[in-house]
């Protein structure tokens, strides 16, 4: 479905991605975790075709749609217009299936997207991406700035979509606990390189990953240190 090999991306002199390899199989849910500035968004924007890679390659079967970090809605336009523009690459611009999926959005269809709550905006962002009828949905920081209950509800929707339609999902998250819980397989990106990969279960047992991303021993020690 998605195959990334030895991908190198540079911004001027700075190397953002340094030989990244990654695979997502058809119908799979894969997590990509890592700290701020590791290159996660750069990777998504490269496979979305926005940034030309300096070296390496990626192969994509089917259509990819991205739910970008920070939602990136067309703030001054209505919910319905936002959704319809998501279908730019396809013929079918009927938003009904999105309203079926997120019944909350139906009554809001004439509202300006910028006036919605964070959770509603994230629904519009996911809905806009789904309008493109993607075979692979790349979600960048689903949980950013949202209340845990809202995140849980959205995550549930994604899992259901994945199960029911077989749409593959690449979930990029700083909240590694959430991502590893949702996705059976994961990659850890650090400073532009894949630092670890494997089943989420194994990864969450690895001491390094626990310490760095799951608020494990090291984190707790640091927290206690500040507290005392």
């Amino acid at each position: 479905m998605l195959e990334v090999e030895d991908l190198v991306v540079r911004y001027g002199q700075a190397t953002a991605l340094d030989g990244v390899g990654l695979r997502v199989e058809r119908g799979e849910m894969v997590a990509l975790v890592g700290p701020n500035g590791a290159g996660k968004t750069t990777l998504l924007n490269t496979i979305s075709g926005l940034i030309p890679p300096a070296a390496g390659r990626y192969r994509l079967e089917g259509r990819l749609a991205q739910v970008p970090e920070g939602r990136q809605l067309f703030a001054g336009m209505t919910v319905e217009d936002n959704l319809r523009l998501g279908a730019w690459r396809v013929r079918d611009r009927d938003c009904r299936r999105i309203y079926d999926l997120f019944p909350q959005l139906g009554p809001l269809r004439r509202r300006l997207a910028g006036t919605l709550s964070g959770g509603e905006q994230q629904m519009v962002a996911v809905g806009r991406a789904l309008m493109a009828q993607p075979d692979l949905l790349a979600v960048d920081e689903l949980s950013l700035g949202l209340a845990p209950l809202v995140v849980d509800a959205l995550a549930e929707h994604l899992v259901r979509l994945n199960r029911e339609t077989g749409m593959a999902i690449l979930l990029v998250e700083q909240n590694a606990r959430l991502a590893l819980e949702l996705c059976p397989r994961a990659y850890v990106l650090e400073a532009g390189r894949i630092a670890a990969s494997g089943s989420s279960e194994e990864l969450s047992r690895t001491a390094a990953v626990r310490a760095a991303y799951l608020g494990g021993a090291a984190d707790e020690a640091a927290a206690t240190g500040i507290g005392s």
Binding site: L50, Q72, L73, F74, A75, G76, M77, D81, L85, R89
Partner: protein
């Protein structure tokens, strides 16, 4: 009072042509973030083209339509040169349009010479409420009204129009959904060319144009456009009408040579005022 109305009516007519030029600025700026300094050129090209077409026996109507189409093509050419390469910074594009505007003098003189050109528009006067109004004024107002109506239909009710607005609202998101922002920019330049051309076609019968008339036309259009922060066509229309009437009154009651000074003063005042109240939040609203 009669004199005042007479001035006001002629001011509204010229204000309408400013509004068309202003909308050209706005349409291009919204999508590409480029202030197109060649905007006045489209009006000059169209005005001169109509006069050539008429002298070659083409009737009114087709001559004007063809001239507007030519201006649209000129808009596309300016667009390709200014933003054709992906990732050209808007400031560089702005300088390119400035250069193209000046360079156009050579082309215009080569084709049409350096003398002012005019042609007869709608002849005759209508009597309205005690004042006489040139039919050409009424034509200008009617065409502007129809054009604004069509533009608002296009931007608010068509998918393509909304895609153009999306490029202005969030270019990054527009690219993510697959909209080719650069091509939309070229479309905006073409539209801007047509709008400038329309202004030229309407204004040339009222005041002859020469190769360097673009500066005056562009200054008035730009002054009107920044009423709406270069982003809102509706506010630009209001600004253009205010500007047109103010200039007609200054020219009528005082001296015609101060006419174009009005636009400069208004523009300076607006810029100072807007710079004073501009907050990061206001920057966002489109």
């Amino acid at each position: 009072m009669t004199l005042f109305l007479q001035y006001a009516v002629s001011g509204i007519a010229t204000g309408c042509t400013f509004a068309l030029v202003a909308t050209g600025f706005v349409v291009i700026y919204r999508v590409s973030r480029v202030v197109n300094f060649a905007q006045g050129v489209f009006a000059v090209v169209a005005g001169m083209a109509v006069s050539s077409f008429l002298s070659r026996g083409l009737p009114h109507g087709p001559a004007e339509v063809l001239a507007v189409a030519l201006a649209a093509l000129a808009g596309l050419v300016v667009g390709v040169i200014a933003i054709g390469r992906r990732g050209t910074p808007p400031l560089a594009s702005l300088i390119i349009t400035l250069g193209l505007g000046i360079g156009s003098y050579a082309v215009i003189i080569l084709i049409w010479g350096d003398q002012p050109v005019s042609f007869t528009g709608l002849a005759g006067l209508a009597r309205m409420g005690g004042i006489s109004v040139q039919y050409q004024f009424l034509l200008v107002v009617a065409v502007t009204a129809v054009t604004f109506g069509l533009l608002s239909l296009f931007f608010d009710h068509t998918y393509l129009g909304k895609a153009l607005t999306a490029c202005s609202s969030n270019p990054y998101a527009a690219r993510l959904v697959g909209i080719d922002v650069r091509r939309m920019g070229l479309l905006a330049f073409t539209l801007g060319g047509a709008l400038g051309g329309l202004a030229g076609v309407l204004i040339t019968p009222l005041q002859p144009v020469s190769f360097d008339s673009d500066v005056g036309i562009a200054i008035n259009g730009f002054a009107a456009a920044i009423f709406g922060g270069l982003l809102r066509p509706g506010t630009a229309l209001v600004g253009a009408l205010v500007l047109g009437v103010a200039e007609a009154l200054v020219a009528g009651y005082y001296r015609a040579s101060f006419e174009s000074g009005v636009a400069l003063v208004v523009m300076l005042g607006l810029m100072v005022w807007q710079a004073g109240r501009r907050s990061p939040a206001a920057e966002e609203g489109a």
